[in-house]
Each structure stands twice: as structure tokens, then as C-alpha cells.
Subunit: 308 residues, 4 copies
């Protein structure tokens, strides 16, 4: 958090059918549906999140990610980062406060991998959902489905992942926590970056096409919750990608599946922690199977091929 960037604060996803998508994110993932704005975008949050939303769905003809936003500590930090983004060479757009309901001014910028990111300093803060801010109970009883607790990170696919990693490290204070490197060519195949002590707040995999979305990930508390998620996937005939399993990278315990529009979701628990003095954890590209799916030790076809 050395440049005032705190955490992934929101992601806007494109869905083909809003009503199907709402059922998925609300009743299956178990996010809290909090709003529908004048553009008919649906807003959600995990119940532990104190801000007013973290997931925004927009109906469109193609699935994928519009942008991912990071919350910074103060408006001053927002202004400083904006200047540095311009100096770094990014195209920077100022989105006025209120364009997303309850969110202050957003600084949107592009990146070498073709993804759009945003920074913002202010968002309405109604507090955690379903429990009192004072003498708070352990959890709210009314949660649905997988009971995802928070939006955690995105994994994005694009060509120049070294470029985007450099941008995030230099301007936004991200730290490279883990990576997959082809030992022969020296090419970095995957880069995991964090602004906290989490193993990743964002991740990238090298891919010929720009601007692709692999998955949005949500936090569960336990491996038993991952099983519950897997059961719900089967009970509601949701398209499973892979899991329950563990990742080698970060060692998180995970399951991947698809929303009705084909966007991949992950719910996961556990995993390693990282501090600024931690060396980068490196996996050899020839062990990428184990790096991604620790138990299977091979990639499934979908992992590299299916993105939105």
C-alpha cells in the first residue's frame, strides 16, 4: 500500500441477460444485490464489504470485463496517482462522481495489455451487510448460495503483461508476489500482483489477444465452503470449469465456474500471505500445470483457451 492504493474495489462485467445474471450473482454466488441504476446496471457486494458495492453488471452483446477499479486512501492520493499515470503515458479519463451510484470521481486509464482500470477515493460506506456495526455478530444468517464474502481479485489475459505489471508496480505501488517464468526464454508467462498482504489483488497471464478477462474471484472462509460451492454448482447445473482443487501459485483452495453469459468466476479460500520484503515466488513454466492446478498437475483445455 506504499502508493495509497488499498484494494480492488469494483469490477464491471458485461452479461448477456441481466435477469439470469442477477440470479447467478445473487442466489448462487450469494452476493448481496444492492442497487439497480438508471442505466439498468445491477450492483452487488460481498456481505463483509463496508463499501456500497463491488460488482456491477451491465447488459451487453458480449461478455467480458469493462473495467476494474481500485480504491485509494484519499482524494489527494487520487490526484497524485492521476498525475503519475499521465506522466507514465497512460490515456487518463476522469469519470465524474455519481456515474456509478454512490461512487466518487473515478480516474480511468488504459494499460499495455488493453485492460481498463480505475482509481477512486470515495464510495458510500453503509458498512457490512446484515450485522450491526457495534458489537457485531459473526455473520448474518440470511446469506444465500455460496455466501461469497468479498470481491477479491481478477485474473486478466493480455499480450504485454510485463508492461502492465510495470505500470501497476511503478505508479500504483503494486508488488510482484508470484510469477511463472519460462526458464529457457526468460519470458514471464504469468504475473501475480498485490497491494496488500494477500497473495494477489490482480493477476495476468500472457495471451496473444489484448484486453481479455479470465475470471473474477470471490473470497470464501473455508475449504468446506468450497465444497458447498461445488455442490451448488451441481445442484443448479452451473457450468463447472474445474475444482474443488488447490492452486500451486498462492496455494489457495478453489473452484472455477461460469456465469450464464460465459464469464468465469472463482470462489476460493486460504492461500499464502506476502509482505514487501518477501522475494517473488517463481514457478517454472514447465511446471505450469502444477502451478495452476496443484492436484491435477496439468492444465485443462479451458484454462488457457476460454476467456471473455
Amino acid at each position: 500500500m506504499r502508493k495509497g492504493v488499498m484494494r480492488p474495489g469494483h469490477v464491471q462485467l458485461r452479461v448477456l441477460d441481466m435477469e439470469e445474471a442477477v440470479v447467478h450473482y445473487r442466489d448462487r454466488l450469494g452476493l448481496i444485490e444492492v442497487n439497480r441504476d438508471s442505466q439498468n446496471r445491477a450492483y452487488f457486494k460481498g456481505w463483509t464489504e463496508i463499501d456500497s458495492f463491488s460488482v456491477v453488471l451491465r447488459e451487453a452483446d458480449e461478455p467480458g470485463m469493462d473495467f476494474m477499479g481500485f480504491k485509494v486512501t484519499t482524494p489527494d492520493v487520487l490526484e497524485e496517482r492521476k498525475q503519475e499515470l499521465i506522466e507514465y503515458g497512460c490515456s487518463v479519463e476522469v469519470i465524474p462522481a455519481g456515474e456509478l451510484d454512490g461512487c466518487g470521481e473515478r480516474i480511468r486509464f488504459d494499460s499495455p495489455t488493453g485492460h481498463y482500470f480505475e482509481l477512486y477515493a470515495e464510495k458510500e460506506q453503509p458498512g457490512k451487510w446484515g450485522i450491526s456495526p457495534k458489537n457485531p455478530d459473526a455473520w448474518p444468517e440470511e446469506l444465500k448460495g455460496m455466501r461469497a464474502t468479498r470481491f477479491d481479485h481478477c485474473l486478466l489475459y493480455g499480450d504485454d503483461i510485463d508492461g502492465t505489471a510495470d505500470l501497476l508496480q511503478k505508479v500504483l505501488g503494486f508488488q510482484l508476489s508470484e510469477q511463472v517464468v519460462d526458464q529457457e526464454s526468460g519470458t514471464r508467462v504469468a504475473a501475480f500482483l498485490t497491494v496488500s498482504t494477500k497473495a494477489h489483488d490482480i493477476a495476468f497471464v500472457r495471451h496473444p489477444e489484448k484486453g481479455k478477462f479470465h475470471h473474477a474471484s470471490f473470497w470464501l472462509d473455508t475449504w468446506e465452503d468450497v465444497l458447498r460451492a461445488a455442490d451448488l454448482i451441481s445442484m443448479h447445473d452451473i457450468s463447472l470449469d474445474i475444482g474443488p482443487t488447490r492452486h500451486g501459485l498462492t496455494h489457495g483452495q478453489t473452484i472455477y465456474f461460469f456465469d450464464p453469459s460465459g464469464n468465469r468466476n472463482e470462489v476460493f479460500c486460504g492461500g499464502d500471505y506476502t509482505y514487501p520484503d518477501h522475494p517473488v515466488v517463481t514457478w517454472d513454466a514447465e511446471q505450469i500445470g502444477k502451478a495452476i492446478f496443484y492436484h491435477d498437475r496439468v492444465l485443462n483445455e479451458a484454462f488457457l483457451g476460454v476467456v471473455t
Copy 2:
């Protein structure tokens, strides 16, 4: 237990290399190595088992199962079952006490699927391993690997599974707990049978060849132990079949893998209970994918094809 047959008491497996096999069953599965007999067979048990052994390994040129044995309550019951087996038309062989170290007389018989089973009434009973018989502690601290607690069941492949099921039900008092049935032809594709309240003490899948072995299964306490097993499989580069996942049949939580000789093992936890008044649980053959692998909802290639 209406005919005095209590439980699966042992299984004798053929392994290609004894030393590799011992490392696998002792250090990976975590069974307790208890004996090596004059024929160089290695004996193991799960730590919660009070009898002296439950798994016997014999070095041979081909993997597979020699026989599976069930313990009955008394020598009288053993004699009664022997007579009924003969009347039923089985080839019955009496194996003298001591042929397996510490085991009393065994009544061996063949079955319509070509598998050999045994009954016996007596086996040395040193008690649970590593804890005191009096004021017993919760578990012994010295367990290794997956810490499998007991031998639970076998799944066998053969042609006339209705015949073997009939034999086990009529003569040995087994109950059909679950089955997979082809609704069109009425063919029973899989049969799960129990002599206790466990969902299965033995199971069969229809298969053109007689006498095939699909897996020997061992009990773990929790889903977290299944994860631990999965991690050990990866850490020791053991050949994984599938998992961690859940079965639709029995709803147990499971992982399948292979011993160094190619015999499949399962470790699992949880799952349904059955009483004599419970109706048979039936899965449609067209849903066999979900019946076997509840999350993936498709069979992997190995499940039907790879047997020993």
C-alpha cells in the same frame, strides 16, 4: 448384519514391487505396517481397526485383487454361512487358520462376477493402534501421510453383478443400498451393498470382463483430510485419477489415485447412512456422470476403463 456378517475385514492385493508398495500404503495412505509373513506378504491396518490387519500385499506379476474377506460374529455363524454357500452352488474352499498370520479359518468362495470372497470369524485383536484401550485418547500423534483410519470397502468390476448381488444378499445378509439402472433396458449398471449402516461395504459396476478390481477404499475423518490427501498425492507425485470431489451415489467426499502397481485407491469421508427399512436409492444410468462424480457430472475416461 442379519446373517452375522459384520464388516469388510481384509483385502489381499497384488503389487508389482513390494518395497514401493510398502512405502505407498504405509507412508502415503498412512496405514500401519504390522507384519511381514513367511510368504513375504506385507500386512497393514488402519489405526482405528481393532483387528490385527486389514490389507495384505502380495508381490506378483500383475496387479489386482486376490480376494476380499468379511468378518462374521462367531465360528457357528461361519459354519452356517459355509453350508448355505455350498447349497447356493458356490465353490467353497476352507483355508486353514494361520495361512494368514493371526487369522482363523477362512471360508473362501467364488461368485458370479468371478471375484473371490472369504468369511472368517477370528482374527487376533490387538486393539486400536497408538492409543490406550482404557481412557483412550482421540488419536495417535505418530500417524503418517493421509492417516487413513480404516479399510472401508472395495468396488469391483464384473459381468454378472446381479448374480453376485443376489449371492451376497441371500447368503450373507447384505442389503442393496444404492444402484444405477438403465431405465430403458432395466439393466442394473452398478450395485452398492451394505451389511451395516454405511452406504456401502462393497460395490459392483457392470463390465464385460470377470474378476476385475476397481478400487480399495479407506476412510478419512473430514473433507480437510481429503484435501490433505490431495496435497500429498501432488507432493509425492502419485498418479491421480480424480478428486477432490463428491460422489452422487452415497454423497461421500473423495479422491481416487493409483498405487505404484496401478491398483486404484480411494480415500473418502462423509456420505449417507442406510438402515434395513431404507428404500434402495436409484440413479438413472443417463445421469451416471453425476452419480459417480457429483461436481463434474461426467465420467472421466479412467473410471470405466482402468481396472486391475
Copy 3:
């Protein structure tokens, strides 16, 4: 199950305020409310139970247990056990079919500890709640509160526990699985009995007064479910007795609490299994603290003193 007695099938408890009690058993324990009969008794079951009910609440001026019932395999077995109970010297009363909605004829008998027990062979069998009998899913999504899966056993307090144990063993085929014995006097302080492979289907603790009820116990799947139960106890300000903890006897993982009328409930998971050839597990009375509460290693005041 050597005398055809299968399992604890129901318990009738007295509650002081029916509406409060219904909220507790339905919304906190998470039993399924299935019926209210013409005497205003409320019927419940755990979702995995195939019979129509297992818990009956009756409004009365004092809390406690009216009777506990066991299901037998057939009407013939019921008749045989009735004759044996009479021969043993019990007062036997025949309760006509339908006195409890959906339950066949019940044979009620007294016992040396002053508790009333029943046997019955028939009860309506609607199947598990919330899942299909064919191709059954893993669990129903609509469960409430602690999601107790089944009625498991009762622990009863009374004077002549050796007498009641003898009755249950001789006439009903129970097996003594675990006990606490005062080594000096040879007095048995507690007796755990089973008709299955569960560590207990009923248990007794020696106590000067006859006919006392310590707790009715319900099965949970996991230690994480025990935590969830503990959280709900706090969130709904339910009177906690003790837990989460483990028992030394049976090694189950448990929490005790009180219904609004002062009847003690237990929800628990895990624990040992028992077969007919298993020796009795004995704890020394001087280690009774550890035998009951394995972690604390001392009894709390309530355990011995508070019964209904």
C-alpha cells in the same frame, strides 16, 4: 441389530411454551416442522430421516422426556420383543396405531431407571426432506439454523443404570459400547449402548433420582457445523451449557445448550464406531472430567446437576 431393533426413532419432550419451543427446534436446531396433531403436539424430523417424524413436543407444566421410541424391522419382531419384555418383567402397554400421527402400534415399557421406552415397526415414510428420492442431490438448500440432520440418541439419568442396561442388552439386543467405572467400588457410573455401529444409540449416567432426562442429541456433519451451531447459540442468545468441545467417551465433537423450557440439547459430529466384536471401552471414574469433556478435563457444574 441382533434382535431386530434398528434405531432411535422418536423422543417425546415436554415443553413449557409450545410457540417458543417450535421456534427453537425449527429455526435454531433446524429440524423440519412436519405436523401438529389433534392434541396440539408438534412433530419434527431431521432432513435426512426417511420416516415422518422423530421429535414430538408436548406442552406441559414441567420439562423432561415422556418417552423414547425405537424402530424395529417388522411387526413380527415387534410381537416377539413384546413377549420378551413381558417375560423380563416389564410393565408393557400397547399404544394403538395412530396415537402418534403416522405411527403404527407402539409397545411401551418401563425400565429400572424409571424411563419409558417404546418399540414400533411402522411409521409413514415420506423419505428425506427436500431432496428427490431418485438421483438425490447432496442436501436441500432451504435448511435453517444448525441444520441438524437426524435425531441421534438420548442421555438419561437414573438410579439403576445396570438394570436398564441389562434390559436393553438382553431383550432389545443392545451392546454396551463404552462405560465409566469407579475402579475402587466397581460401580458403573455411565453406560453407553448401541444397536448399530454408532458409538451410542442411548446412554445413561447414574443419578439418585429416577426417570431424569439429560439431553437429546442431533447429528451434524462437521466440526465446522458445530462452530456454526455455537455462533447461532450466541446470535440468538440461547443458553449454552458447554462447547464447542470434544468428548473423551466416543470422541465426538459437540456443543450442549438448552431449549427455552430448560431441556438440554446436543448437536455433535464425528466419533467412534463399534461392532459386535469390539470390547467395551472403559474410562476410569477418576478421569470422568476428561471422559466427558476431553479438552477441559473437568466437569462443569451443570453436567451432573441440571436435568429435566
Copy 4:
């Protein structure tokens, strides 16, 4: 981490008998014993910690804490914090590099509650114990006892907890995450502070005496690990304080026990996360029972009374 202070890096505890203490911290807590220095101090670390040690035991006539150290990002930060500590009015002592084996220069300072803290920028970094730095496996198989993964925080007792909290917030960049406040008097009874997103990196409870130590806490991965810890406590006859249970404050799942010298230890898992924009979570002092022990909802005698 806004002032470059990263994490609790070490704690030095006084023990009455070194050999007993080593057995406890190594074989029961499961820390890795890494060193014994020329002063006969024993060094330990949790297996996930990349630095060379985090717990130091010193044999003395009285138990308690000598000091707790925090690692900062760089030597420059160390120098800046030193100047600010002097300006704030602390007594600052420079401990030369090497006084603790493998640790660089330490800046020791006192605090209004009478506790001694240290900052340091450099410590030998052998990496995580038992797994490869490249393509790292999920965990090492050779762990003992409770398998504590890392030193997490200390809870300290003292009089002027507002003073120490002010010092840690102003000079070291700590954030007040949770507190217990007496609503009538406005007195803060407990203060939890963090320099990361963990709910606490250090905590204080108001107490008439200065410089007291309540417990050192270690991280476990799961609630099942807390059960395992509880079992080990019983199996090795370790003095239990309380647990397994959950805290209301932070909502972590926990167990407290004592080392052979009477120093309290905690192992715990789970719990809330905190970011700089999170409001302070406040518990009313009249609910302190639930705040500390969420399930029991009353303090046990030891919690407030037993400190070293």
C-alpha cells in the same frame, strides 16, 4: 503500513525451565527450533515465516515478555522512526546488530504501558521452512504438534493503553481496528491495533499494573487445526485456559493455553480484515464477555486475572 512498519517480527519470552519450554514451543505448538545463541536463548519460527526467527526464549526466574519487535521495510525507515520516537519522548536504546543472532540493529523503546518494543530492518532470510523457494509445495510434511504457521500478535496488559495506542498510531503508523469502550465513562477498556489488513498485530487491555503480558498468538489455517490443538492440549496435559471458541472481537476462532512457565499462548484461525478506511469496530464494555468469548458470553476468571 503507512510508516513502513510491516509486521510483528519477534517476541522474547522469559521461561523458567528452558528444556521444558523448548519441548512446548517445538513439539506442542509446532514451531521450528532454529537456533540456540551464546546466551543460551532458544530461537523458533513458524514454518511459513521467511525470516530466521520470530520467538526467542530466555531462561529467567519469572515468566513474561522481555520485548516485542516489529520489522520495518528499510534501514532508512528505521532511522526515521528512531528520530520520531525520540521526538515523541520515548527512551530509545540502540541494540547493535548481532545481539540476536541473525538480526540487524534494533531500536528499542519504552511505552506508556511499560512494555518494551523494538524496530529493526534486517534479519537473515532463509525462507519458508521445509518447502522449496521455487515451485513451492503446499506445506512441509514434517511438522509437529499444532503446526503453528506464524507468530501473529501479542495481547498486553497495562495501565495507560491510550498512551501506548497513541504512540503506535502516531509514530509507527498503526491503525486502531477494534476497541472495547465503557459507554458510561468513555474509558477504552481494550484496544486492538494493526499495521496490516489483519484485525490485530498487537492488542492491549487496561490493567492497573504496567508491563504485563497476556498472550503471544500464533496462526493456524483452519478451525479443524484449532480442534487438533485442543486435542493435543489434552493429550499432553497442557494447562488449558479456554477454548475451542470464537472471539467476538475480530471473530477469530481460538484456543488459549499456558506454556510450562505460565505464559499464555493462543493459536487461532480466521477473523476479520481491516483496511485504512474501515471505521473502528466498537464493543460496549457491558458486552465484554461476548466480545472476548463469543460463545460463552462471560469472561472466565483467568482472562482478566492471569498475566505474566
